[in-house]
């Protein structure tokens, strides 16, 4: 067991000692703060139509735990995904493969390391929930169990499950990141859809991965009993509303039943079981065995005819004279090429299918759902927009080139923007044809926002994860019609001009961040 502990420790430290993790923690602090909004806020995090719980230990503790569970399950997957890939990329995997560690031992250590990374974040939200209790309440008794037990029974099993899903995704889908994201996107949606609105029953308690059903039923029953209502729907998550008048009720938390606790233990056991099952299929870094024919064709053994040395050497005096050309178009061309070639070729069939669908389905569906999803599917392209030269160790060339800041970064932004607009073209043209000029502006603004967000987060964090997490989050919330995340302007807004102005200002800000940080980076390698 000792070696497993060492691997977990090393893996945990490796993941947490990064700028992107620090930024994730900062965002988490803000998110945890927002879980307990002030009474005057225009949103709630647990909403029973027309009713609002009085802030007490049970309310703050349960809502914070539940929000942490859902949020962390959603973006945690992106945060922890890629632990095995890292070992492949760094070559550590080949060393691991030659050690006595079993496949299960290795995957178990990765799984637990995933879990501890997520646990660190949830521990932070736990502490902030206690702080928020004292900030938002006065005179209400502080009951520590109302904070510990929800985190224990909601968050812990969910974190184990997500940690295991990340392992399963890596083992079975390898480097097909986008496929992993899509499957997780739909799986998460299915898990949430499965529980929301269902009546309480033993079966539902067991299939309720996050424990949402148990909590919402308890809250609903309290309101229905106290006010003789027949409310069936409870909204969990950020619900925006201009309405500030609510009837209040005092909720004392969940009675933790044996069945509920057994269901939580079941999900933990399922998580371990998934890891054990995956270990039978783990490639153990033997890619010749795992690779298809195409990969084999590219193996160095088959290119021996080209492994020769310098043939005739280089006679510099015979080379054609150098003609200077400082235009950025060759860059834009290559950047576009890199964007297009990223990922498997077959994926362009999926993109093409969605693109054509946007021509034929109802415009509002194309605009509100298909377009954000199509843009999200390119997440691996956007996320490496301004990070790829560093991750590919090409920055030595790019940053020592002539005017890198004025030529390189604008080319990357321009290429990505061109691609984003091209992907959005059906909706842009249809909106223009329908005379909706605001929508045209909004989409173009949104495309610029997407590109600048990817570039700035990549440049600031030095990695792709932060953008991936945020973009997944944004896209998911767009499909839930949350106006705050509507970067494409598909939802109705009070002032169209105001919305366009805000997006423009955001874009200017993100552009300024990108250029100023990169300006420093190119001279401080």
């Amino acid at each position: 067991m000792k070696y497993i502990y060492s691997i977990i420790k090393a893996d945990y430290l490796q993941r947490t000692r990064s700028y992107s993790f620090l930024i994730t923690l900062a965002i988490t602090i803000y998110a945890a703060y927002s879980f307990v909004p002030p009474p005057t806020a225009s949103y709630t995090t647990l909403n029973v139509v027309g009713y609002k719980g009085i802030y007490n230990s049970a309310w703050v503790g349960h809502v914070s735990a539940m929000m942490t569970t859902i949020m962390l399950s959603l973006y945690g997957f992106f945060l922890i995904n890629g632990g095995i890939k890292k070992d492949v990329d760094t070559g550590i995997g080949q060393i691991i493969a030659t050690t006595p560690i079993t496949n299960f031992g290795y995957l178990l250590s990765k799984f637990l390391s995933n879990f501890f990374v997520l646990l660190t974040i949830s521990a932070l939200t736990f502490l902030i929930s206690i702080v928020m209790f004292f900030v938002r309440t006065s005179g209400s008794p502080f009951i520590i169990g109302d904070f510990i037990l929800p985190f224990l029974f909601f968050a812990i099993p969910a974190l184990f499950t997500v940690s295991a899903l990340a392992i399963v995704a890596e083992v079975f889908l390898g480097r097909r990141l986008i496929l992993q994201y899509i499957i997780f996107f739909f799986l998460f949606g299915a898990l949430m859809a499965n529980v929301v609105g269902h009546k309480s029953s033993t079966v539902n308690t067991f299939i309720d991965t996050f424990g949402v059903n148990t909590m919402t039923n308890s809250v609903k029953d309290k309101v229905n009993t106290q006010y003789h209502e027949h409310i069936d729907a409870v909204n969990l998550g950020f619900t925006f509303s201009a309405k500030h008048r609510f009837k209040t009720f005092e909720w004392d938390g969940i009675s933790w039943t044996g069945i509920f606790i057994a269901s939580r233990l079941m999900w933990i056991c399922i998580a371990f079981g998934l890891v054990y099952f995956s270990s039978s299929f783990f490639h153990r870094f033997d890619f010749k065995q795992a690779a298809g024919k195409k990969k084999k064709a590219l193996a160095p053994a088959n290119i021996s005819h080209t492994n020769g040395t310098f043939a005739a050497g280089i006679n510099v005096s015979l080379l054609p004279p150098v003609v200077t050309d400082y235009s950025i178009f060759p860059f834009v061309k290559t950047e576009l090429l890199l964007l297009i070639r990223k990922g498997p070729k077959w994926f362009w069939l999926v993109n093409g299918g969605l693109w054509i669908s946007m021509v034929f389905v109802k415009l509002d569906i194309a605009y509100a759902y298909l377009l954000p999803i199509l843009l999200f599917l390119q997440v691996t392209r956007w996320s490496e927009l301004a990070t790829k030269e560093v991750t590919n160790r090409l920055h030595y060339f790019t940053w020592s080139s002539y005017k890198p800041l004025q030529r390189m970064l604008p080319s990357q932004l321009l290429a990505a923007f061109t691609m984003a607009v091209a992907l959005a073209l059906p909706v842009i043209l249809r909106s223009a044809a329908a005379g909706n000029i605001y929508s045209v502006f909004n989409i173009i603004n949104g495309a610029a926002f997407l590109v600048l967000l990817a570039a700035s987060l990549g440049i600031v964090s030095g990695g792709k994860k932060l953008f991936k997490i945020l973009f997944f989050f944004i896209t998911y919330l767009i499909t839930q019609k949350i106006p705050l995340t509507d970067y494409l302007g598909a939802l109705p807004h009070d002032s169209p001009i105001g919305f366009i102005s805000i997006m423009l200002m955001l874009n200017v800000f993100l552009g300024a961040v990108s250029f100023s940080v990169r300006s420093w980076q190119v001279r401080h390698l």
């Binding site: 590219l298 310098f310 050309d325 950025i328 790829k388 590919n392 002539y402």
Partner: protein, 290 residues
């Protein structure tokens, strides 16, 4: 053409210094940089390549301030870093086109120039394959080709022979020698023989400082008459190590042939004087001057 570096210091943080008050003038020809790991060779090269800013000090190329105006040297710079990478999805031709764009090289003859460079490093047959499938030596060769794309006047090669086989190394040395006539070439290597074979001048560094700079004969002269060889058993070898700087040993049946440098010109009994080499001088300086 001359690169003049004065009192250059690079302080990464409170505890880590890359270069310390480093001054050197580099003229046309090949300057070989020698030094152990952490000596500051790569830091110096990064500063000259303008991707790292010195904490203090100045760097002038023909009177132009490179720290203040980095774009001046960038136009005429060829840089092959120690641990560079490539975009694996591009083929060799596309990659060189991309680097050419970075360097501001274009025009109708660009394609021909790339073809000739690819031919020169024997990658023509593989020019249309993704670079991600290349071997280490092939990647290193494309690295060399990119450094020459813009007809550079300042060439920086950081450990350029890593990954090259012996024949490729010889070819590379020839290429460097051909280029040296009208360029400043700065070359670092752990392989002293690479430097020995081509460098006009040698700079030996340690702990971010310059220990010695001069032509090879000047450097070698520092240890002339101090290098000896002797044959002894293992116990005697330990005694020898305690008294002198043992720079090489080789086993011969039950005994060991040892090459050593004496600091006081008093060799051990039975030792024979041998010709000093650049490697002897390098080891002597890095072990005694630090």
């Amino acid at each position: 053409m001359a690169l003049e570096i004065k009192n250059l210091t690079k302080q990464y943080n409170k505890h880590k210094t890359g270069l310390s008050n480093y001054s050197i003038t580099i003229d046309r020809g090949i300057l070989g940089l020698l030094g152990p790991n952490g000596a500051g060779k790569s830091t110096l090269m990064k500063i000259i390549a303008t991707i790292s800013k010195p904490t203090t000090g100045t760097l002038f190329l023909d009177g132009e301030d490179i720290v203040k105006n980095p774009d001046n040297i960038r136009k005429i710079l060829g840089y092959l870093p120690q641990d560079f990478g490539v975009y694996p999805n591009l083929n060799a031709y596309e990659f060189l086109e991309y680097i050419a764009a970075l360097k501001g090289v274009g025009g109708p003859d660009l394609r021909k120039r790339i073809d000739m460079l690819l031919d020169g490093v024997n990658l023509t047959a593989d020019a249309k394959r993704p670079i991600g499938t290349y071997s280490g030596g092939m990647k290193q060769r494309i690295g060399i080709a990119q450094a020459l794309l813009n007809d550079p006047k300042v060439l920086i090669f950081d450990e350029p022979t890593v990954g090259l086989d012996p024949e490729e190394r010889v070819r590379f040395r020839q290429l460097i020698s051909d280029l040296a006539n009208d360029c400043i070439i700065i070359l670092s290597s752990h392989i002293v023989s690479d430097i020995e074979a081509i460098a006009d001048e040698v700079a030996i560094m340690q702990n971010g400082t310059l220990l010695e700079k001069g032509t090879q004969p000047d450097i070698v002269k520092l240890v002339e008459g101090k290098v000896f060889e002797t044959i002894l058993d293992s116990q005697q070898l330990n005694d020898l190590k305690a008294r002198h700087l043992v720079i090489d040993t080789s086993r011969q049946k039950d005994q060991t042939r040892a090459r050593y440098i004496t600091r006081d010109h008093q060799p051990e009994a039975g030792s024979i004087a041998v010709n000093a080499t650049l490697e002897d001088a390098y080891l002597f300086l890095t072990h005694t001057k630090a």
